[in-house]
């Protein structure tokens, strides 16, 4: 099933690419041989044909894993994390992120979770800020 959906989405994206490549405003480029629209159009066209093949080929999608909810939870937490990095600052949001991800697993003790979630981000923060001179995002906090 997933394979069919994938091929349909691929087909749609390729169609959008071809359509928008067709609408490139070429007026100010002049004649430059094969224009900027040439390659995307060809690639889009090939991709449409291939995705049609994929749609009609035998689906070998892996059986649904019952643990997929953990992955979805991770993706969700990751999305929130990226969103709050700029708002709260790198260090505090990374600590929260690490703790939330580790809380998904029941295996580690609460103490380990807290210690690890503070030390690892702090280490990265110090390393990148003071040794690699990367200015990490700051927000309300650091």
């Amino acid at each position: 099933m997933l394979e069919k959906i994938f091929s349909v989405i691929l087909c749609i994206i390729s169609a959008i690419i071809i359509y928008s490549a067709n609408n490139f405003d070429m007026s100010y480029i002049g004649d430059s041989g094969l224009g900027p629209d040439f390659f995307p159009k060809i690639v889009g066209f090939i991709l449409i044909i291939l995705s049609i093949f994929l749609f009609f080929s035998k689906d070998k999608t892996i059986q649904e894993n019952k643990n997929i909810k953990y992955t979805l939870a991770t993706i969700f937490i990751f999305a929130i994390y990226i969103f709050i990095i700029g708002k709260l600052g790198y260090l505090i949001s990374t600590v929260l992120f690490s703790f939330s991800i580790m809380s998904l697993f029941k295996k580690n003790s609460i103490l380990l979770k807290i210690i690890y979630s503070i030390l690892f981000p702090l280490g990265l923060y110090l390393l990148f800020t003071y040794i690699f001179k990367v200015s990490l995002p700051t927000g309300i906090f650091i």
Binding site: L2, E3, F6, L10, I13, S14, I17, F24, M26, S32, G33, L34, G35, P36, F38, F39, P40, V43, G44, L47, L50, S51, F53, L54, K60, T61, I62, N67, I68, Y70, T71, T74, I75, F78, Y81, I82, I85, G86, Y90, T94, F97, S98, I101, M102, L104, F105, K107, N108, Y116, S117, F120, P121, L124, F128, I131, F132, V134, S135, L136, P137
Partner: protein, 488 residues
């Protein structure tokens, strides 16, 4: 050339560089040994640590990680019967049986020696062939580069033998991704949808951190929930490989090292393929050996083969700017970040970098031998590191890594998005390394085709009037033909 090599050796031996090389090799071994962390992932997530270093030091460390990680995969293949990297899948066949018979130290020492020998053989090829190839490649112009990129892309298709169609689709998706951002020739902003961050297209590093690190984490989480703690419980019999056994394996090791180097130097084909090819070749030529029951030849063939790839993969990377496999693609990204353009000119303009790289490759393999043999006692500890700590760590490293290249949260978003894409692709069994290779080869293909057409004023006669171009085009046809025939 000898002079350059000696200079390079001195550079690599400078205290700072040498320490980074040791760190790289050791870190690579650990990453490779942890099941689920591949060599590509290791180089991708540790790449940001080299941004702040100068070019030579950074590359030396990355080469160390590369060499170490390809070898490290064999540790968990042997001790746990789970390959640490796909390149070590073939090592399980004979490595694990030998452990069950109570000889883990012997199995590990065989794989260490074979890996280091394979790596050194590939270094010899790298050092001797590359300068000539680079000189030859100086004659290349747009039509040749176009045909070369096309050849690289057809190889991607033919190595996806398992699923030809999906391999090609992944490759074409990569080509599509490469068209985002400003067009190289006319500077026309393509598919940027008025997003400023997209003007330069998707940066390669965030894309591959997403595809190789984040998506792998998403996959691992599902498996992890039901997994029990790994306990190796291995009774260590202290005997290492002895001289007689080494003599017995040496022909296989040399042969596999050469095959691995050759496979590595073909754009697109990587260590996993080399390992299987070498294993099968060893099986074919050693009829009286008992494979699958702990044969030492069965361990040394894939290990010499996959480490042979490391040097081989750098040949097209340095001389032509075409990566030999996914890890080499990451290294290409590293070179570009440092403001260098891999290709024939690199040998003339930055010999210190090229030869520094060569020397660190040679030293790296020697270190691999020393660290590898000394570390055998500790390996069972590494493979017991709980994955529940690795998962958040990899995500944090991925985030900070994709951010710190351009100080851009947009790039973190790109990593996230490609993590999800890679995860879905994994579910439908579509390989993700073709995407990375074609993201890199795409601009090369497109720009050079268009330049060639401009050069010939709208005519396509360059396709059949330039000998080197013709050779590459014929090779491309052959590789597609052989892939299609293999399928039937």
């Amino acid at each position: 050339m000898v002079q350059h090599l000696l200079d390079g050796l001195l550079t690599a031996l400078q205290l700072g560089n040498f320490i980074y090389l040791i760190l790289g090799v050791t870190g690579g071994i650990i990453i490779g040994a942890l099941p689920g962390l591949t060599a590509t992932m290791g180089v991708a997530i540790l790449l940001p640590f080299t941004f702040g270093m100068d070019a030579v030091t950074g590359l030396i460390m990355l080469v160390g990680i590369y060499v170490g990680a390809i070898y490290g995969g064999s540790i968990s293949a042997i001790l746990l019967n789970t390959p640490g990297t796909p390149a070590s899948a073939a090592t399980c066949f004979d490595g694990y049986p030998l452990v069950k018979q109570g000889h883990p130290a012997k199995a590990l020492s065989v794989s260490t020696i074979a890996s280091a020998c394979g790596g050194l053989i590939s270094c010899i090829a790298l050092v001797t062939i590359s300068p000539f190839l680079a000189k030859f490649a100086l004659r290349f112009s747009a039509p040749e580069y176009f045909a070369l990129a096309l050849f690289g892309l057809t190889i991607i298709a033919s190595i996806s033998a398992e699923n030809f169609l999906k391999g090609i689709i992944a490759g074409v998706i990569g080509l599509l991704i490469s068209t985002f951002g400003m067009d190289y020739i006319t500077s026309y902003p393509r598919f940027t949808f008025d997003v400023v961050d997209l003007l330069n297209g998707f940066s390669v590093i965030p894309v591959l951190i997403g595809l190789f690190a984040v998506s792998e984490v998403f996959n691992q989480i599902e498996l992890l929930i039901d997994e029990k703690e790994i306990k190796t419980n291995i009774t260590m019999d202290k005997s290492y490989m002895n001289l007689k056994e080494l003599k017995h394996c040496l022909p296989t090791i040399i042969k596999s090292g050469v095959i691995g180097t050759f496979i590595g130097s073909i754009p697109g084909a990587g260590a996993d393929i080399a390992a299987f090819v070498c294993y099968n070749e060893a099986k074919r030529s050693n009829k009286d050996e008992k494979f699958g029951k702990g044969s030492l030849i069965g361990i040394s063939a894939p290990e010499a083969g996959n480490n042979g790839v490391t040097g081989g993969a750098l040949v097209p990377l340095l001389t032509l700017g075409v990566p030999g496999d996914a890890v080499a693609a990451v290294l290409l990204g590293a070179l570009i970040i440092q403001g260098l353009t891999p290709g024939p000119l690199l040998f003339e303009q930055n010999p210190e970098i090229v030869y520094g790289l060569f020397s660190s490759m040679i030293l790296g393999n020697i270190l691999l031998l020393i660290i590898g043999l000394a570390g055998i006692k500790f390996y069972s500890r590494i493979v017991e590191i709980p994955k529940t700590l690795m998962i958040p760590s990899i995500l944090m490293l991925s985030t900070i890594g994709s951010y710190s290249m351009n100080n851009s949260l947009f790039d973190v978003g790109v990593t996230f998005a490609f993590g999800i894409i890679g995860y879905i692709m994994g579910k439908i069994k579509m390989p993700s390394s073709p995407i990375v290779l074609s993201v890199i080869l795409g601009p090369m293909l497109e720009t050079n085709l268009r330049k060639a057409v401009l050069m010939y004023e709208g005519s396509y006669s360059f396709l059949w009037t330039r000998p080197i171009t013709i050779v590459f085009l014929i090779l491309s046809l052959l590789s597609v033909y052989s892939a299609l025939r293999k399928k039937k």
